[in-house]
Amino acid sequence: MTVHGPGTSGLILDEPLLWEKGKSGRTAFSMPDQDVPEVADRLDDKLLGAGPDFPDLSEMDLVRHYTRLSSWNFGIDTGMYPLGSCTMKYNPKINEKMVTTAGIATAHPLLADELSQGVLQVLHELQYFLGAVTGMDSVSLQPAAGAQGELAGMLIFAAYFREKGEKRTKILIPDTAHGTNPASAALSGFTPVALQSGPDGTLDVESVAVLMDAETVGIMLTNPNTLGLFEESILEITAIVHQKGGLVYGDGANMNAVMGMVDYKRCGVDVMHLNLHKTFSSPHGGGGPGAGPICVVSELEKFLPQPHIVKKDGYYQLEHDCPDSIGRLHAFYGNFAVLVRAYCYILSMGAENLKKATQLAVLNANYVRESLRQALHLAYETPCMHECVFSDKLQQKHGVSTLDMAKRLIDHGYHPPTIYFPLVVSGAIMIEPTETESKEDLDRFIAVFKGIIREAREDGERLRQAPTRTRLRRLDETLAARKPCLTG
């Protein structure tokens, strides 16, 4: 018996590009009154332009355009989105409402502190909450995404060694690390040194001991790592790094696996970032905005980006004058509205539910792991946390690849898992269900996936042709890169 996912096909409307629509003279914008005299010669001809050639649309044109485009998209609200390393959990609607609160949405960033107490309170309390969740001492909310958090961390590393007068240039980064890690390290002037993960997918204490030297600022690791495995030797590793005078950076993108379970300070982490658009339920918006707050031990607090947000005498303040700070990373205070959503999430959950979310996220991943391990090759036997990694090893002989299976999942109405990442697993299939998926939905997903694996044996062509239910079939990525057409 074949189990079908929810995917089927139905009426969808095509829609041209914006500039293939419209007619000059229309506008969808409601014009405010011209209640002051119109200046005749506004500017010198040398400065005056003709204005851009934008399409002129009616409001109805605009509405249909985006309504139709949206129907070609798939979000968490549409269905299961088990994209590994991305923590695609439910994004609560109440948070979307809270960000529009008058005063929250309308605050100008340069108003005096006494006019901004409400928004400053949000930031100050969120700093506290994130410190509490991670176990770290101090927090800056400024980084606009995980990668900018990493950059902040690396700049803090640099500042720390500059202050100490040490010239170190290398940094250890595991081969399983997300690409932003080496990129951020490089941007900060460090040379990444690749650390090979062991046969069980985790780091080997020995190799850290060998590579960690006086020229090395420390290590940048992800725990749980991007294979969804907990680095069990974390204490030994951080001890070595510290012993050799280095610092430990923790990529906290996978925090969803350990809220209330692991204390990063006790792990020996000195600096870490969080991805609020993952663990803390802020929607990813088809590519952002995110928020990548950075948490440090007290020793490094003074290096945090400025301004610092502090509370003195019951009064929230922006402290601009932080002489040791690595400086500013954002024109103002980061992606404020994203921070507000995370703040709402934490307030709605409370400590107990955050921990529960972690337990269920790990339960869901283990459940999928156990349920699919006969059918798919499991990359590592190490107990998994919030996600599990398979590969297409068993399907290769049928000429079916990870990509084919992923595309076939689309036809069944599921967003594919993360594929071909991390690079250390060839043909990786990384599934992160998150805690907001119910057992019934997981059971159906598992059954469908098994059906696809059966299909791989019996009718591989069907998979290689997938998806067939989408408005467009597989897209030619090679052509796009060979002859880039970026603006039409």
Binding site: G51, S70, P283, N353, L360, A481
Partner: protein
Amino acid sequence: MRYLPHTGEDIAEMLAITGHKHLDELFSHIPEAVRYQGDMGIPEPLSEWALTEHFQRLGANTKAATARAVLLGAGSYSHHIPAVIPSLINRSEFLTAYTPYQPEMAQGTLQGIFEYQNLTARLLGMEVANASMYDGASALAEALLMALRISRKKSTVAIASAIHPHYREVVYSYLRAGSFGIVELPTGPDGRTDLSGLQDIDDLAAVALQSPNFFGVIEDLEAAGDLIHGGDALFIASFSEPFAYGLLRSPGSCGADIVCGEGQRFGMSQSFGGPGLGMFACGRKFQRNMPGRLVGETVDLEGRRGWVLTLSTREQHIRREKATSNICSNQGICALTAAAYMASLGSTGLRRVAGLNYDKAAYLRESLIGAGASPLFSGPTFNEFCLTFKEDFTPIRKRLLERGIVAGVELGRFYREYAGSYLFCVTETASRAVLDEVIEEVR
């Protein structure tokens, strides 16, 4: 908890499959020594209703909210946002999607971003634009890094001191790690950047100007471009108020090589400064040096037009430490919003709103000058301008504040030399009645 679907029964059945006795056993391989101690010290959960009340209080404590008018720009501008924009962009298919890694399931996001790239290129007069940077400040930093990459052997950049002070701070943070030289170019009495010292700078990879600049003054970009190119440097144009380009010549038409700036005003709320939208554009010849994501056109198996993320070999996913930038998540939904906003205006609307900004700002500026204030700079302006007052402006500003009008940013906070002068901003959201109240108070 309404976000957690598991019933006790579900959990028991699932544990039976995974082979664990209880939920905690799933974590048994985590060393005791790193376990979290105690609870997390976060308040008890708030219901939706308690949270809403809490936010009502927070909003009310942000007195900015109750202001009748905020005549303040300095990088964050009040512009009208049509109700259609959030109602379209908040559609969950856009909002709750991840980065479009699976193009067959994300053509909405992809076409939307492709359109954003196109409209951005049109606005700025450039050939190509990327899918967004974090904000105007980091976009400028990335533009300078890109120029340094392109110019390879050169390692000095010059930036106008009239660029938004916060943007310059971010530049310093980003460029600090490389051993680059940064020269600041002074501001002349007309409020424009004084480029006369350019030829004395060796090893110059790029020069960055902002127009309108932090003082609201419109730079002579064309002349600047000629000078900069004459010195064989790349010309980077930055901006914080894209509405200006409804009236002004685009930076591209003035010869800019890279244009970058802040796009929050295109349909996003001010939200205490974020999220913003780093707009970023350049000439086609530089596209492979660009930081950030790019959406490109292609065809599907059956030859139908479609879109994918492309040129990703520049990016950290593949290039890791050799990437053109570390940026990964960007400002996706903000870019989509900006595209919808640009389309809602159209050529016709943008022109008219830009004109209205000009006229309203001119009205306040001229009236205040008529009432005795003097312009700090002689150069032309768009919707921001700097004034100096004969007497101390502080008490006037305070009285206006009591009436719900926030007027002007004191410049001493950013430039010691201009302490006591104020930067004002007037957009289409300010009514004449409010402007007249300000004028009355100054008179």
